[in-house]
């Protein structure tokens, strides 16, 4: 299968859409169909590869980049509307 999202590091819990992904479509990373999206994911945006609880770290490049401000389902869109910078990094 042709990949439509990229996970740069094996530890990452989100992948980045290389095309816009319609709601209910397969999310394919490294040629593997990992899960289906539960909403539209714009090009260049992040999709949750597993469920997030509120307050959990989003990991990219094997590092925490933001934390969730609400629960996010697997296949959900992860961005500024449901995350915030991690305050303890300041």
């Amino acid at each position: 299968m042709k990949s439509n999202a990229i996970r740069v590091n094996a530890k990452d819990n989100v992948a980045v859409a290389v095309h816009a992904i319609k709601k209910g479509s397969p999310v394919v990373v490294d040629g593997q169909h990992l899960l289906d999206s539960v909403e539209e994911i714009p090009l260049g945006h992040k999709i949750a590869l597993s469920p997030f609880s509120k307050g959990e770290n989003v990991i990219r490049y094997s590092e925490p980049i933001v934390e969730t401000t609400q629960d996010v389902p697997a296949g959900g869109w992860v961005h500024v509307h449901n995350t915030q910078p991690i305050l303890s990094d300041a």
């Binding site: 980045v16 290389v18 490294d30 260049g44 980049i65 933001v66 961005h79």
Partner: protein, 384 residues
């Protein structure tokens, strides 16, 4: 692992064997350019200052960049052209240049522009003939200093080109080479992460201090407009925090420990991954790293920067296939294949590493073929 390079008298190895003709002040640029027209094989370097400085620090920095470019192991011989009344006279530049032929001409002393040009052509032609007979000899990959740069980044830079360069950087460091990460502005948001990657506690603290002080300076300078530089830049493009954006930049440095932090155009004393304090502006940044001894630059771009650099090969890595196809002859590697699913990250990283070795051995990059060699240096103070 070896490549074939030019051994210099100071023990360093160059991957090119250039004759450099460089002005000490912009007033002398015309003579440099005239020599370049007569001898297209020389590398001419002209620039905008050499005088009119408001701050001694700027005199020192431009002098350091110019003299260390001349001292770079890719340069086999250098001719400085001065005017005669400038602040940054050639005698301030020659001291740093060791182990290679150096000549100086001064327009006001050598009979004016036409006569100086004629003398310069004679000297540069002699240099070309002398260097032509020099042969490449085996050298270790551990003697390579590779500068890492990104410019004109787009949404894909952080997921294709930069991570692929990171794979190549890790391989280079594993072979004992040195990789320089720069552009301090693009580390804002990752001070705490880079600190952990310091090889020693001291280096970690130096990096953290460097990035935090730079962030403070940006906020002071730009005030309300600091968001232009520090904000995620493109929330619409999908970046959710400045940390995420900067991680996308620093990923081109790979995953090895940071062994040293050096100032602008300063020479690293350690091998492996080092950080140099430079602006985000590509040309100044490259000039700093070349001043630090980099023989080659790997430059990722999404929008399509075509900037090369004088005397130093720049390998261009395109983040997306569309730009790679739309700018034929400007890009050396198509990392957009990762997004298209045609190649893996590791495959493109290996491709970049292999190209680094071939470039070291003499294969020309697109920017070299195109003779794209913009030149500038950091200048922070006023002009009077």
């Amino acid at each position: 692992m070896e490549f074939m390079g030019y051994r210099r008298e100071n023990g360093k190895v160059g991957i090119r064997n250039h004759v450099l003709v460089v002005s000490s002040v912009s007033c002398a640029n015309g003579v440099v350019e005239a020599i370049g027209r007569a001898l297209p094989d020389v590398v001419t370097v002209v620039h905008g200052y050499g005088c009119g400085y408001g701050r001694i620090e700027d005199v020192i920095v431009s002098g350091r960049v110019l003299s260390r470019l001349a001292d770079n192991p890719n340069v086999g011989a250098v001719l400085f052209i001065g005017l005669g009344c400038e602040v940054l006279s050639p005698d301030r530049l020659v001291g740093e240049v060791k182990g290679k032929p150096v000549e100086v001409l001064v327009v006001q002393k050598d009979g004016g522009s036409a006569a100086t040009t004629a003398k310069g052509i004679q000297i540069a032609a002699r240099f070309l003939a002398e260097l032509k007979v020099q042969e490449r000899v085996p050298a270790s990959v551990s003697e390579l200093v590779v500068a890492l740069e990104c410019g004109g980044s787009d949404a894909f830079s952080g997921i294709t080109a930069n991570p692929a360069v990171g794979v190549a950087a890790d391989r280079l460091v594993a072979e004992g080479a040195t990789a320089i990460l720069s552009e301090t502005t693009e580390m804002i948001g990752t001070a705490h992460i880079l600190k952990r990657r310091g090889a020693t506690i001291e280096v970690g603290e130096q990096v953290e201090r460097l990035v935090n002080e730079h962030e403070k300076k940006v906020r002071e300078e730009l005030g309300d407009r600091a968001g232009m530089v520090i904000a995620p830049g493109n929330i619409e493009g999908g970046l959710s925090s400045i940390t995420e954006k900067s991680l996308g930049c620093i990923t081109k440095a790979g995953s090895t420990p940071i062994n040293e932090v050096v100032g602008y155009a300063e020479r690293p004393t350690k091998q492996g991954l080092v950080i140099m304090d430079t602006p985000g502006y590509d040309i100044d940044s490259m000039a700093g790293m070349v001043g630090g001894g980099a023989q080659m630059i790997i430059f990722t771009t999404g929008r399509g920067s075509v900037a090369g650099f004088p005397a130093v090969p720049v390998i261009k890595v395109a983040s997306n296939a569309e730009m790679f196809r739309n700018m034929p002859g400007d890009m050396d590697v198509n990392a957009g294949t990762i997004a298209d699913g045609d190649k893996t990250l590791d495959e493109v990283g290996q491709e970049i590493f292999d190209l680094v070795l071939r470039t070291a051995g003499g294969q020309k990059t697109c920017a070299e073929v195109n003779r794209s060699q913009p030149f500038n240096y950091l200048k922070q103070g006023p002009t009077f």
